[in-house]
């Protein structure tokens, strides 16, 4: 089953007098349960493609299908609903809400979804334990390390059982050990829960684990390789 399908996506940006090509007729299909890395140098278009897949940015042309939703045709409000129900995001700079505790950050998406308090509490505590943050539920982001914050972000991304997790340079601000722990956590969730992961990265530590590596240059996909990635603990 296809989790996400992009057809002939084009996107340009204007910077001063220059027109920069973000995406140049990009087409890609990602099946449910895949563990995909988008790699490439800065400016290659991987973050632009990720944002377009997540409905955070609209392409100038082309089609994006996430599940049954034509992302490129949805209104602002419907896009928000689609992200809320189907997609989990992990950003480079942790991006937690500073006035909420770790547990409240994890519960945030469920609260917006309108999930009942008891269910929210049960799920958030379970997922925090799963990402090794048991006992840190009441800490605010400022009281957590970078790796811990990123794990809270992962917990928030997966707590409401999305079909797809989009991660943009999730290990960029982490040390090697923490980065490996995080990507092994991704792999575990992908294997055990069947969640589709699409990770934009130029971190080789992450790429080593992926089963499909898509390389991009100047807004185009230049290679798309399926392979046996490293397993957790290798």
């Amino acid at each position: 089953m296809t989790a996400i399908s992009c057809k002939a996506l084009c996107k340009t940006f204007t910077q001063g007098d220059q027109i920069i090509t973000g995406l140049d007729k990009v087409s890609i299909d990602i099946d449910a349960g895949e563990f995909v890395c988008l790699s490439g140098p800065s400016g290659s278009g991987k973050t632009t493609l990720l944002n377009a897949m997540g409905g955070l940015d609209k392409p100038d042309s082309g089609e994006i299908l996430v599940g049954t939703h034509r992302v490129d045709q949805l209104s602002k409000g419907d896009l928000a609903d689609m992200r809320l129900r189907n997609i989990g995001f992990v950003f480079q700079a942790y991006n937690l809400v500073p006035v909420l505790s770790a547990q409240e950050n994890v519960e945030f998406v469920m609260q917006v979804q309108g999930v009942a308090a008891a269910e929210r509490r049960e799920k958030s505590l379970a997922i925090l334990a799963e990402v090794d943050l048991a006992g840190m539920e009441d800490r605010r982001p400022s009281q957590l390390s970078g790796g811990q914050q990123q794990r809270v972000a992962v917990a928030r991304a997966i707590v409401s059982d999305p079909t797809l997790v989009l991660a943009d340079e999730p290990t960029a601000n982490l040390d090697s050990k923490t980065a490996v722990q995080l990507v092994e956590l991704f792999l575990k969730l992908n294997t055990e829960r069947g969640i589709t992961f699409v990770i934009a990265t130029h971190d080789t530590r992450v790429m080593d684990y992926c089963r499909r590596l898509v390389r991009m240059v100047d807004g185009r996909i230049v290679s798309d390789d399926r392979r046996a990635g490293k397993a957790a603990g290798d």
Partner: protein, 413 residues
Amino acid sequence: MAEPRPSPAILATLAWRNLWRNYRRTLIMLTAITVGVWAMILFSAMFRGMLDEMVSAGLRVLPGEIQLHHPDYRDDPSVVNRIDMPSGALLQALQQPPVTAWTARLKVPGMISSERDNRGVQLLGVEPDGEIALGFQPDTIVEGRFLESISDRGIVIGRKLAERLETELGKRVVIMSQDPDNEVADRGMRIVGIYSARLESTEEINAYVGRKTLQQMLGIDDQISEVALTGGNYRDVERWWQDIAEAAGDDLETQPWMVLNAYLGTMIEVQSNFNIIIMVVIFIALAFGLVNTLVMAVFERVREIGLMMALGMRPQWVLYQVLLESGMLLFLGLLLGNVLSVATILPLQEGIDISAVAAGLEMGGMGSTLYPELALQDMLLSTLVVMVLGVAASVLPAWHASRYNPIEALTQH
């Protein structure tokens, strides 16, 4: 796709915690709102107290919050336009709430002469107890006594009139008026009392005699010129004076004090409008601070707003959250402002000495003491003004926050 219904708790939690994120800024704004609300209520209380004093003084001159006359009496206030004593439905209405006191007067123009001078006056044939119940204050008698009955044969005049007539307590004067047949009716009377009034014009014009005595002088039976009544609170008259008019029927003209004294009636209307204007002016000054606070608060957390939208928060929920934040700040300011108002105005209700500036105000019927009056309706009005305008002023920054593009907001530094 059905729109999800987010838990209001998350919006409230975010709004409350964001409010205290920069607690110094919030405290400064909170202080400004508190002082603003306090100023609104204090001003209203002082203005209300001042107006009460003016109207009360005016009603002491009338006196009576509602008066009933012959339909032609106001054009020709002579004995010709007299009426019968109340009876039937009118008497029944006068003897039950909301009427707390009433009296009947014979009121005719006349002349008063001493051995040295004479003056035109208004002869008030009254029932002493009824006048006192209606608001005549016996302690305004500065010499002698007030009348004792409707058959009292003495006369009570004002201090200024005594001065003009070059007469004094105990001396005899002659009063004259026209009887129903247009014949001169007169009578010699002894001055049994001299009263003082807030206004010199009152002292010069009103001369009190027993109602029965005046009726006998004019050769009329138990007939009168007016019925005056009160309900205790002049502000409530608007609600019930027409019930009295109905009971009085078409043969009598029933008028409330707002019509009898248009100046005072207008002042009450002015008070309501003026209160709103002052409240709005004070609020506009506050609004700049409020909008600045919200703009700064929104500007400081553009990335967070972008993040929440990226995670699936609809733009309108971002708008609600910022409005809620503003609403909480306004609510706290209103609460503190109202508490401060009660704490500071209640002790002042004993009276504020304004004798240093009262000389000019005396013409308007003001005394030398101002009694601020804390009224629930003024507190509610200030709450309404602050809440409605406050939320309206917050719409722009809130709307601006809800229009962010998530990805642009997330990449802002």
